[in-house]
């Protein structure tokens, strides 16, 4: 299986898993936005998901494998790249590389840490800030849980910071997908780069708005 060993093969796997995770990020954002409807919205949404039963677990395992593939190859390729550049130039003069493109490994690892924290907090629910309970209809009260946690300024700030890191990662990552898959040329590259940035900004604003709205009291119980 040369796709698992060659430079371009592994990048293609990273690109595909990365892009599928971007799709998840889209869906997740749409789901999350049900919080703006109030407790009814997001609690109903959560119940629907839970009722899917084993499908949820299959989905979770698939997502975990994406993270694993994307992460393992990301680390492996980065280590190889470091080995290929044994000595730095005395003067550094990069004209095209950006903060985003230069720090993919670090933003990637930070996102991984954030995902672990996020799952422990809202999925496994073992962090100290979590308030558990059910709503009037007997559904799990996700709304109350999230709003309580985000009332904590530190947690809200951490989420916004994580979304900035995600923005940096996707700012380079989305257009990078098209280049790596070869779906690119000199005319499309500037357009795709801009679109990638726009999508990344939408995620940043969309996701950050939840902790920001809750912290500022715009969204409350």
């Amino acid at each position: 299986m040369q796709i698992l060993t060659t430079s371009i093969g592994r990048k293609i796997l990273m690109a595909i898993t990365g892009q599928l995770m971007v799709l998840f990020v889209v869906v997740h954002l749409l789901g999350n936005s049900s919080i703006f409807v109030g407790a009814d919205g997001i609690n109903a949404y959560a119940k629907h998901l839970h009722d899917l039963g084993p499908l949820v677990w299959i989905f979770r395992l698939v997502m975990l494998s994406f993270i694993a593939i994307h992460g393992i190859y990301g680390i492996q390729l980065t280590l190889e790249n470091n080995a290929a550049t044994p000595q730095a130039y005395a003067v550094k003069n990069l004209s095209k590389a950006t903060l985003s493109s230069n720090n993919m490994i670090w933003t990637g690892l930070l996102i991984l840490l954030f995902i672990v924290y996020h799952l422990l907090q809202f999925t496994v629910r073992v962090t100290p800030d979590i308030v558990q309970g059910v709503d009037a209809l007997g559904r799990y009260d996700v709304f109350n849980m999230v709003v309580t946690s985000f009332k904590n300024g530190g947690i809200a700030a951490l989420y916004v910071a994580a979304m900035i890191v995600l923005f940096l990662h996707l700012n380079h990552g989305i257009q990078s997908f098209f280049q790596t898959m070869g779906w690119n040329n000199d005319k499309t590259l500037p357009v795709i780069s801009k679109l990638g940035k726009v999508v990344a900004v939408v995620f940043l604003i969309g996701y950050s708005s939840i902790p920001v709205f809750i912290l500022t009291g715009i969204l409350s119980k």
């Binding site: 060659t6 430079s7 371009i8 790249n81 080995a83 550049t85 993919m104 790596t180």
Partner: protein
């Protein structure tokens, strides 16, 4: 155009006696340089002074001095070939510098390009990549008439865009990962675009991509520094085309 003004410059140059020597920077002064000196002619003058003073001149690769052979290879102030658009070091002129400037001069740095001496590196790895598949397997003689297969002008033009690569290695030197994707992508694309190269396209891209790794080049992370470093302005769209050819080869 005034020939009277001259410049004095401070050069901080990488000196390394041999492949195994650790190497270090040395500082030199370049005097009486005019705006019409090319960068290499400026170094020639510095070398003449060094020899007269009984010191070892700076060793650097160069040959045609008209920007086509791809022999010259210096990183100047952090930019391969000095950073002027579509320009090799030999075509870089001193009018781009000011009197009193300090200039750092370093060799290409990459694991795949071991330093031989001072600013001279070994780029045999690029030949190895071409040997892995950068050709059509036609025999000498026994080929059809040149007009037997028509090639639309836009295709011929795009293939020429890719074929302009001079194999200097600036793309590798400029890449934060020391990847050879632009070099390899240019050759893969040139031959993939032309009907004469199509029959072997799948095997070619596989073999050349494997050769890149075996030679110790890094992996592309789409910074596009290579295009900025390329003295021929080879477009990163040829990397995309290579990726596309590679993807296709997986299903052939």
């Amino acid at each position: 155009m005034s020939d009277h003004k001259t410049m004095t410059l401070t050069l901080i140059v990488w000196r390394q006696k041999s492949a195994n020597d650790p190497g270090k920077f040395e500082t030199y002064t370049a005097k009486n340089i005019t705006e019409h000196h090319s960068f290499l002619e400026m170094l020639d003058c510095v070398n003449e002074d060094l020899i007269a003073a009984g010191k070892e001149p700076i060793v650097f690769d160069h040959d045609c001095r008209e920007g086509i052979c791809g022999m010259c290879s210096q990183v100047i102030n952090g930019a391969p070939h000095g950073g002027q658009e579509r320009t090799t070091v030999c075509q870089l002129h001193m009018r781009k510098f000011k009197d009193g400037d300090t200039i750092y001069i370093e060799p290409w740095r990459a694991k795949a390009f071991p330093i031989l001496k001072d600013l001279v590196v070994d780029r045999a790895a690029l030949d190895t990549i071409i040997q892995a598949g950068g050709y059509t397997s036609c025999h000498t003689g026994g080929v059809p008439d040149g007009n037997a297969v028509l090639i639309p002008k836009p295709i011929a033009e795009e293939a020429t865009d890719a074929a302009e690569c001079i194999g200097c290695g600036a793309c590798v030197a400029g890449c934060p990962n020391s990847a050879a994707m632009l070099f390899t992508g240019a050759k893969v694309s040139q031959l993939a675009l032309l009907p004469q190269g199509r029959p072997e396209a799948a095997a070619r891209v596989t073999n050349m991509v494997n050769a890149m790794k075996e030679c110790g080049f890094g992996n592309c992370t789409n910074h596009y520094e290579c295009q900025a470093s390329c003295p021929k302005g080879i477009d990163v769209k040829f990397i995309a085309r290579m990726n596309r050819e590679y993807l296709k080869s997986l299903f052939s």
